[in-house]
Symmetry: C2
Subunit: 512 residues, 2 copies
């Protein structure tokens, strides 16, 4: 190809190989953009009767994307590019991430992919019926079959340490079961006694937490708040959906949602801060990576580190609650007009024993996650029969929080994750929590005055730091190495536990 064209005369043959791969990657990106808009629209806007047609259309796009990703020509281009040491670093990263996706898509036999997809559909549908009926037996055969199929999937993909590694790797590349298991063990050891001491000290729930807050004003506050901390509304949107989420539809189009509840304002504030954390990460991915494979967030754990940091380390901090309160008093004078700051800050951090993960607070949340991780790992390893899940769940809740669900609806049936076979997903929630505490600690020591910034509602210097340390790396490197460069070694539960101890010691004026 050398010297054949006026414009491209100096282009090396290998660059042409990259150009051919890039054209295919851009096509996959664009198809993905349509799939993500379908998904966002379904969660936020889609009229009821449009559901069936939409499901078909989404499956068609999924099929076209899958066919194009698994085209052997992509494999051949990857082979060629992987052999070329002279490739620029960003192209090497795109090749690495594409190889990962290509291998996952081609190694699992089509029959198995189809069987899992079909089973997920019917199993999820069954879960929506089993939960209100409090009938775990309905779910049992589906879970048993899903575990079997996920084992076959893991074997098809391949693994080194143990089979569960292949499942974690989907969501948290380069992280192993052994590492995650150690992380949870440390966390449980340190957190269980601390959490129970804090919970015992918490006292009664303040009444003003659950009073009527007009939902249109909650949304107005959410819009104001996300812009205040740096969400770029020219490159994104905030809307409402029952389950808040963040999604990048395309370059310059990052959408987050929040939810409002009529009887509390805390839910919308902290959902918005949480999703804004995700959204700031998405908006911080360098534009020049332009939606290509390495131009994405690096892992779910890192993603969650951002949402948790803005929700908790920033949002629930003393200086930031101090910043928010006058604005909230102005919007909701009936509810908050006479609430002193100390009481508001305590309310924003009010912990309580609860059976349901999604309503759990910062103190107890990760015990809920630890429980799920332990049970799903045991189940996947064959150490726990699916039939024994409900009992094991209840016993573990008792040992962590001293309470037992009286029904499986409030226990093992509460989450949808297992019903769709999403094993390996839960650990990323806790990984994100531990990252958020460690990263925030580091930011705090690396530049002074963060507390003063937050008291003014100014997150700009924190954002610059996050950009330097997290965002700009996108997925050019493995997430673990991005995190370890910040922390200075492997992640541990230490910084998170110390963060909770310090915060709650101040709130309840007790040394925990």
């Amino acid at each position: 190809m050398n010297g054949t064209g006026d414009v491209c005369g100096s282009v090396e043959p290998m660059s042409d190989t990259w150009g051919r791969l890039k054209a295919r990657l851009e096509e996959l990106r664009d198809l993905g953009s349509a799939q993500k808009l379908f998904e966002w629209d379904q969660a936020v806007l889609l009229p009821e009767k449009g559901g069936r047609g939409r499901a078909k259309a989404a499956a068609t796009l999924e099929g076209i994307s899958h066919d194009r990703l698994t085209d052997p020509e992509i494999g051949a281009l990857l082979d060629e590019l992987e052999a070329d040491d002279s490739l620029p670093d960003d192209q090497k990263a795109h090749v690495r991430v594409t190889r990962r996706e290509y291998d996952r898509a081609t190694k699992v036999p089509a029959d198995l992919v189809r069987e899992i997809a079909e089973l997920q559909g019917i199993s999820y549908q069954t879960w929506t019926e089993a939960r209100p009926k409090n009938d775990f037996k309905m779910m049992q055969p589906f879970l048993e079959r899903l575990v079997e199929l996920k084992k076959r999937e893991a074997d098809a993909i391949g693994w080194e340490g143990e089979r569960y590694d292949a499942l974690i790797d989907v969501f948290e590349p380069d992280m192993t079961t052994a590492e995650v298991e150690k992380m949870f063990a440390d966390l449980v050891t340190g957190l269980t006694p601390l959490a129970n001491s804090i919970l015992d000290a918490a006292g009664d729930k303040p009444e003003w937490l659950n009073a009527p807050y007009p939902e249109d004003k909650q949304m107005a506050f959410s819009h104001w708040l996300c812009e205040q901390i740096g969400f770029d509304t020219k490159g994104g949107r905030l809307d409402q959906s029952p389950h808040p989420f963040t999604i990048q539809i395309g370059v310059g189009d990052v959408r987050q949602t929040t939810r409002t509840e009529p009887n509390t304002v805390m839910d919308s504030i902290f959902s918005t801060l949480h999703e804004t954390g995700h959204a700031l990460y998405e908006q911080g991915i360098p534009e020049e990576l332009n939606g290509l494979p390495a131009g994405s967030v690096a892992s779910l754990g890192l993603h969650e580190s951002q949402s948790r940091m803005w929700e908790n380390q920033v949002g629930r901090s003393r200086p930031f609650t101090e910043f928010m309160l006058p604005h909230l008093k102005e919007l909701f004078p009936e509810n908050l007009g006479s609430i002193p700051f100390e009481e508001f800050h305590r309310g924003a951090n009010y912990p309580q024993r609860s059976l349901i993960r999604v309503y759990a607070d910062e103190v107890t949340y990760n015990l809920h996650v630890a429980l799920r991780f332990e049970l799903e790992l045991a189940m996947f390893r064959g150490d726990l029969a699916v039939a024994d899940l409900p009992g094991a769940w209840n016993d573990q809740m008792d040992s962590f929080l001293g309470m037992k669900p009286s029904t499986d609806s409030d226990g093992v049936l509460q989450d949808m994750h297992w019903s769709i076979g999403a094993l390996g997903y839960f650990p990323t929630y806790t990984l994100g929590t531990l990252y958020s505490a460690a990263f925030f600690d580091k930011a705090n020591t690396e530049f002074g005055g963060l507390e003063e910034d937050l008291r003014k509602g100014d997150g700009s210097r924190l954002l610059i730091w996050l950009n330097d340390n997290v965002f700009r790396h996108a997925y050019l490197r493995e997430p673990k190495s991005i995190a370890e460069d910040i922390i200075g070694g492997p992640i541990t539960a230490g910084p998170f536990i110390e963060y909770l101890r310090t915060k709650y010691s101040a709130i309840y004026e007790t040394q925990f």
Copy 2:
């Protein structure tokens, strides 16, 4: 294929051919659904910075759809199915419509398609600059080139009577230049003197028409109004956009938009009624046709017949304005509290001479369209040089409405249509107007009490009639035959002119 499967044992070979075509049509439908969601989202929600990425993604989907539509295998399946007289009628219709789309997509050489697409892009961009600059010379070379390319396109597609037939046929299948020319000639002859008499009688514009109307209340009224006349919000949505439009994203998902202006309520009311007319047609397409090619509205003219009917024959009628007024008085007591019904009805029908088509009223609108049709036909035939367009425009405005634009911005540069080479499109606006008057007349004679229905805001019997006579035919038949079955012969300007004469004679208590 006979007798080879348990379930399909009795299926004929030809059905298998149909099944193979159907699978491809469903895939095209699903890709089309993603393209339409892109389009809707871009007009309603897309953040500013998402525009560039979205344009690329939309082009990628367009390319994939085009490749799949023009696959020679589709041509082969069509050949086979066209030779089979035993095909059920609905399948014949799908084959007929697919043939039409396939031929259009394959007959025009790819080079020409690309050249037109590129020219449209840059020409539209130029128009957005030329209009505010009042600089027709900027547009002239683009229009000249577009006319040349559209001629080549028409020749590639083929035509019988004259070349412009091929352009009309895109939007109004089976309609010829000769028919449309005669329709406009009759219309202009009858309408010009009548319109000018009515305009002379109209008097000053009532002040309350342009007062501040809170826009959130306008939207609340629009939501209420479209549901009132039958729009199914479980199968669709109403949102806001600067240019109101209606689009079917997929089966069970028909979306309309409206707009609000701070200083008038009429704009939102009649935009909503107009788009609801389009939306009711889309929602009336039989579900069993399931988004396949003949399961669509039959033509733009028929589409516009529905929007115009609900906007004008229904919405601006005496009984329906009588129905709306008390509700509007309740919402806008400051503006309308003391307005007597006669004055409101007159205001809702207030006609005035205006240079701009999109602000034109029911009396003058079709003269604006006639002007465009005459000029674009003359230009396309070569009887009028592009350079002479501005002068011809101004002279024709003078002859129709006795006023001349002082700038090209208010004249020949006002519409975007020609800048993207959308020749043959304008006539469908007037065709729809004439259909609406003729259809409404017919409905009125075919069942009694329509006026009483409308006085109660009840459009249900009219909807049933429209369903029987228009909606259920979808695109199973040619649009002209659907219309002529209702009217009893070719469409003429007569019913529309008589409708205006009767209405305005009553409003101004004069015999026009």
